[in-house]
Symmetry: C2
Subunit: 306 residues, 2 copies
Amino acid sequence: MLVVLTGGTGGAKLVQGLSLEAGPDDLCIVCNTADDFVLHGLYISPDLDTITYTLAGVGDATRGWGVKGDTFAVLEWLGKYGAETWFKLGDRDLATHLTRSRLLREGWRLSQVTERLCRALGVEATLLPMTDDRVETRIVTSDSEISFQEYFVKNRWADKVKKVYFAGAEKSQPVPGLLESIRDARAVVVCPSNPVTSVSPILAVPGIRAALTGTKASVMAVSPIIQGAPFSGPAHKLMAAMGWEVSTYGVAKAYSDFLDVILIGAEDRELKARIEEIGIRAAIAPIHMNSLDDKKRLARQVLDLL
Amino acid sequence: MLVVLTGGTGGAKLVQGLSLEAGPDDLCIVCNTADDFVLHGLYISPDLDTITYTLAGVGDATRGWGVKGDTFAVLEWLGKYGAETWFKLGDRDLATHLTRSRLLREGWRLSQVTERLCRALGVEATLLPMTDDRVETRIVTSDSEISFQEYFVKNRWADKVKKVYFAGAEKSQPVPGLLESIRDARAVVVCPSNPVTSVSPILAVPGIRAALTGTKASVMAVSPIIQGAPFSGPAHKLMAAMGWEVSTYGVAKAYSDFLDVILIGAEDRELKARIEEIGIRAAIAPIHMNSLDDKKRLARQVLDLL
């Protein structure tokens, strides 16, 4: 199978393309869960949901999150009761969180819940949370420590970040079958997701990084950075906070212990030589994904290169 | 203050009339919570909600439950995930259950949650759950035992009822201030709610029945039965299951240890003598409440008689 490591927004675009071009049966998608959080008493898994909705054909591709055409009646009333409304929970989306929260409280594991939700929405690909344990991205700023959603959604990444860490990662375990999937993979694709807060948490789950280093399969990444800036979100700020070079080279370097190939934009062609110096092949491709055609073309390019 | 004992639908109509005619500041409403149940992981208090929405002016008076103009997007999606959808949870209504469930999980008492929800929706009357403890109406049929909502909503009161009991009642305590409110009341009104499953659970909370017997205030009931049939719901079936006469007389008899006056319909005038024989004054009044004018007129009649 083709194993895909992904976060939400940017990753979901390539996942959609790969599902259409390689077929869902061939995909084993390993998804970040370190952005998960509890709000209104509900357990919310933003990245799992974005991938699920995208593959089910009900995702809102324009916003990049939630269910297409969703309404916000519950949230408006939660506001009347004084609840925080900065996280835009749609009504249909809320049914997902209600179902997940109830099942988790009943003792289901997150991977079991994910499988049930995927099946109910007709998703055929295999979607695995990176772990069934609680791992939480914590953003340390100069005067506080906040969750990823507080940083990303509530504060709109305005905080000056000093440090990022993944609470609980060292004690977490990959979900059953995940390491074997990487070992036996036909190829592994690291999606153009935020390398600090979407891909690094996956790599922080004990065993996953070693499995990527050890697999015989070719490991390819698609760069989420072009000309020193991310396609969306705060990857540049977070990479800088980690002391990484904010460039496609910085991404390649962060993955250099397991990466074989990186797809970079033509705009970054002058970085090709530097990347190849650290033992990673850099292939040039149009890595923008603004339309469904873009997503399919990039997916095809990934599949052809593997 | 005027203390009012009530369930949902029928009681809510008189509560609305009393609030308009006596003013909300004068009302202390004691509400049945034995219909409360947990669904989709949410704690739902149907009677408290109906009273709250009615007093807030957002209740759906036609259906008798839920929020006027509410939508059902969450429920439809819960159905996709295989959840039971027989209990019609509206989106706005769901925000109430989410808020209540979260606060209860955080350690709030039901009476505190109720006060907060009322305040948020601008309800000025005092609304008290009968108890902060869990009391649950159980319906025993010939071959099973079910909750009130399963009997009432899911099975549409088709089961043959053998017995009704209130699990947890004997260990429950009235909410703080409730007994004192009855003791010091200007008058007490028992709403035309189901005497078996709306009023009896309130009376089953230790201390409440004794407070009603002991108060110097006049205690009046409005009959929920006319010509041997309830205005709505299964009161006739449940009264029969209890071995009570299914009539206004049967209602008066069930309350005879504390009742001073009962308002009955002109259609039941031949029962007046029998009721008065057991020491309860029977006053004849138009007790239908089909319109807002009906509710106000009946409330005025209640207030004039007290």
